[in-house]
Symmetry: C2
Subunit: 444 residues, 2 copies
């Protein structure tokens, strides 16, 4: 039986009779009340005989077929239209910049077929959605990937690092990477390690609302990211996102010190154990951190683009069976980053197993599931025991950054150099002191 947007039978006929389908805005009258909203296709697992409507407040409701008295078309669905770049800017003497698109919400639109959001906009589309970019730079665009960021792997990091190395080496002065927010922190850390002595700031940017929604943060994020990449006096790899729920204040985070701390808010990204590198506000960049590397001409710009995927990130939980470490050893894992409790603790029964896998050549590092603060293994007996069997504490490094760094170390260097490189401060992953003074808040 043929379906209409997932609807069949009597409900399909009702839609056809009223000449409406998914994506259209309609008024539905029932015996109890009226609803105005967009028709959403029926999901495979949704109940039969329910019409799904996305209301103006963003919520979806299901309306039972037998309660529907009438359906009236209010507005036919039409795809969003984009302005094209004004031609008068194309000839101006502007810096050369590039947007490398990897996918994610910033490069997506609401899909009225499924009612969800999917990567659909290309980097070219982004340029036409945000014509202001043409006033800032001569912007090239490349769609490198079109994927949800939860599917990014080590090999995507390698391809992306090489691509960015190419653009920067060719003299591009502004380099912006659009990325899904889910794993943008991990990718930012990967690029921070893979690209050495980057002469310009490479800015990763995403959005929390798709760019064809009125509430989207895509446009303001993208413009701010481009201006930061072109104008900032520092270099390196950064994430730029809203620093607050409004449009006025963007935060520029070090790629190794940033974490998605909220599932949905615009200001979801936070610098951890350090202040943001800079604030972008009202068209101006305010540098906050001292000692950032300066913007410079490309000279010693190098690339170490490889990552080993035989690395695990393991969060400890009460009474966790340490046999999992033997499983990882058997499966050929070369390194493990632990998220311990508090200062970096695990249960005593895990220690002998960790001793065994470390003797067998697995690198084991300790971070904290507290997220904020510094791992210290010298305060309690458990910590001393961990040090003794060869677990290496990673100070105030984020566990996610530690996972990426270990994958990068094992991908590019001989094993006898791994410990030294893991302990060295390569890309600001360690803060030399706790930036969180007693009098300061943390977590925002």
């Amino acid at each position: 039986m043929e379906k209409l947007d997932g609807y069949s039978g009597a409900l399909k006929r009702l839609l056809e009779e009223n000449n409406v389908r998914a994506g259209d805005v309609v008024k539905v009258v029932t015996g109890e009340r009226e609803y105005v909203g967009t028709i959403i296709p029926r999901y495979e697992y949704a109940s039969q005989d329910f019409l799904t409507l996305k209301l103006l407040n963003g919520y979806n409701i299901g309306i039972s077929l037998d309660k529907i008295l009438s359906i009236t078309l209010i507005e036919k669905h039409s795809p969003p239209s984009f302005k094209s770049t004004p031609p008068e800017f194309k000839s101006k003497n502007l810096p050369k910049a590039v947007i490398v698109s990897t996918g994610g919400t910033i490069a997506s639109r609401v899909d009225y077929r499924t009612g969800g959001v999917r990567p659909a906009l290309s980097a070219f589309d982004l340029l036409s959605v945000v014509p202001e970019l043409a006033e800032i730079a001569k912007v090239d665009a490349e769609v490198l990937f079109s994927m949800y960021s939860e599917n990014m792997t080590q090999s995507n990091w390698t391809i992306l690092a090489k691509k960015l190395h190419d653009y920067v080496s060719k003299g591009y002065e502004g380099v912006v990477v659009t990325h899904g927010t889910d794993t943008m922190g991990y990718t930012a850390a990967a690029l921070s390690f893979a690209l050495k002595n980057t002469p310009v700031p490479i800015v990763l940017v995403g959005s929390q609302r798709s760019s064809d929604r009125p509430s989207s943060d895509a446009s303001s994020n993208l413009i701010s990211a481009m201006r930061t990449s072109i104008e900032a006096p520092f270099s390196g790899v950064y994430v730029l996102m809203h620093g607050w729920v409004s449009d006025e204040r963007m935060e520029v985070h070090l790629g190794t010190k940033v974490r998605k701390m909220h599932t949905s808010r615009r200001d979801a990204f936070k610098s951890i154990n350090i202040k943001p590198a800079a604030i972008y506000e009202n068209g101006r960049i305010h540098v906050i951190l001292d000692n950032l590397p300066k913007r410079k001409v490309p000279s010693s710009f190098e690339i170490f683009p490889n990552f080993d995927d035989r690395v695990a990130l393991i969060k400890f939980y009460p009474n966790m069976d340490p046999e999992i470490f033997l499983y990882l050893l058997d499966r050929g894992y070369r390194g493990i980053v632990l998220e311990g409790f508090g200062l970096g603790h695990v249960s005593s029964r895990a220690i002998s197993v960790l001793k065994k896998i470390i003797r067998d050549g697995v690198f084991v590092f300790m971070t904290s599931q507290c997220i904020f603060g510094r791992v210290r293994l010298t305060v309690y007996d458990t910590g001393r025991d961990l040090l003794e069997v060869g677990v290496i504490p990673l100070e105030d490094m984020l566990s996610e950054t530690a996972f990426v760094k270990l994958s990068w170390c094992l991908g590019n260097f001989e094993e006898d150099r791994v410990l030294d490189i893991m302990k060295a401060n390569i890309a600001y992953e360690f803060s030399s002191r706790t930036f969180l003074e007693e009098g300061e808040r943390f977590g925002d």
Copy 2:
């Protein structure tokens, strides 16, 4: 060869000649400068021929034997002395209260033998360290465990729940549990589920500095916890810790919504996705959350004290090999709580494996590694796919609380009831709406 506090050879002889040993405060003069600090025993893995000194600023340094010109005793080590409870309070007409001690920093002192901190104070000692408690209540004390909290298991939760049920049933009006901070959040969640219709507030409390240190938060935390347990108008299970770095303001957190968010600060514990239940400040309790259960006489107080340990908490990371789920299935795990990316996503390649283990009877639930915000699986394709294979999203529940709740569900109820109970709001683990309004900060 006999050692002195881990020191041997020439260094041992030097210490003996000067009649000093570990725990003593000394002045050490070298050719370059003078140091004043406490002698720390030599750790097994420390370099030979270095004297370890804990300086007054708290840092440890190693001084090479060949640089030492002289060692002078400044103060002999003596164990801390405690005041005893004033007898005049013992006969007063005060409410009956109990401190149940499980170990942790609050019940510990600096061990000058190892230079570290170890559980050493009993609940009785705590009473003598904090004589003010005797003015609040007739306080009994029981040392139930003396362990680091990273070693707490499901069976410890069961024993503790039964013990607390006993005390409350006997009419104790104040019930305080001292606990190591590392897993205090997990234990608080466990007690929140295990104890139903608790008539009084059971308050878990820890400290971030051992109680024999001048900077300790043990005393202020303990007094505030006891007063809250005796005086608060609400009931249930709570964690009380500093809400700020100073002593003036304590926060009382719901046992299911609290997380250790900093490795070392006094205000390490934060309520997540909800405000603190109450503030304790200047001797007064300010209730913040509406709808908390009221303090009442014990009537329908019940206990569901069992926990199944065949439950895993798995944090997703980029390119994670989903074979780990098959390993957990093979090992007899009955439930898994995932910490997905963002709104609750994992890589596409994991979905078919999750489908298989769910078909084979493993319960799989989704939370977010963002910590703040709400899981939503209906926005993106990945989420819809997860819903379709049977992964259950847990809204704004903390992953740690979800792990504990699943362990508790499987420990007390038949499998056909597990899904319903996991989705029901048993002990405030779900917030009915996002408490974080757009205009509010999160993370502090």
